[in-house]
Amino acid sequence: MLTEAAESRNATYETVDPDVRLMLQVRDGNAAAFEELVLRYQNRLITVLQNLVHNRHRAEELAQEVFLRVFRARASYRPEARFATWLFTIAHNVASNALRAAARQHEVNVSADPNGEAAAKPMDSMAVAPSGLMPVRQLEKGELADVVRQAIDSLGERQRMAVMLSRFEHMSYQDIAETMGLSVQAVKSLLSRARDNLRQILEPYVQEGTRP
């Protein structure tokens, strides 16, 4: 049983968000509406997931898992947020589960390593490099992409997710907070720390004017 305020809020999302209207059609059994949603969101979803799990094939699998969950949830769908916020909330859960599973797998692999040593991330050494040891040559476009990817990898999972939603989905702090189940202030701090970390890691490459 919805309260009047909730009904009014749902009606608002239905009015302002065309994707909410599509999802309501999916709820009512319109398969074409679901295909339209997949078309609209597949690239956006894979972009975010790929930068979270660092593997294109895995990102595609996870994106399909997200769409499957969306379809399975259609009967109980209520427009209580923007559609993108709802979709990326599911994506966040799916990606978090996948990353946790991968971390457990990694732990097993590391403990199976007879030397018992995990390989250090290359970015760890980059991040602490003194400014006198900056890269001196122009980075190729591919190399720069690799440097940026490693900088992103050096962030924690939550910082990475917040950065992806902010950068690629242009979500407000409020929407990121809803997606990740955090307070707005927590998102503000998370993004601030993430961007400060990125700045520290990437600044040497910016200073050298090596951007292609």
Binding site: L39, E60, F67, L68, V148, I152, K188, L191, I201, V206
Partner: protein, 169 residues
Amino acid sequence: MSNDHHALEHDTMVEELVAYLDGELDTESNRRVERRLARDADYRQQLRELQQSWDLLDHLPQADVDQSFTESTIAMVALQTSDDHQHARSRHSRQRRLMIGSALACSVLVFVAAFSATRWWAGRQDRKLLRDLPVIENLDHYRYAESIEFLRLLEREGLFVEEGLDHEL
């Protein structure tokens, strides 16, 4: 202490600049940041560095999948949800069979319990007669006894042992 203070000041400044870049400040805070940007070169430098490193994220891979991904997603979802229905149907059918089985088992149990209770109830008089049989058989003898004390005396002397009357007394 001084380092902590400096770190806190740095964090506050970065948080403010990032929120400014993201358009998340209220009007008053926005004006305050812009006033400081106009007079503080170091502050401006911090803003520039944050913006430049943020712009580098454009180099991250961005997906551009083809129609086959869409088709395989739709097919996978259709297949999975069809499996879901199949599982739901088979679960429903299993539940129905289980319910029917349970109902049958309960009926049998109730029938057996009712039958036993009826038999027990019906045999109640016979069991009482059977229990009192030794007394009934010796009733004529007991009539000669004048009192219960006399019978107890006879019992202590072992007179009723063979006749199985000790329990009845």
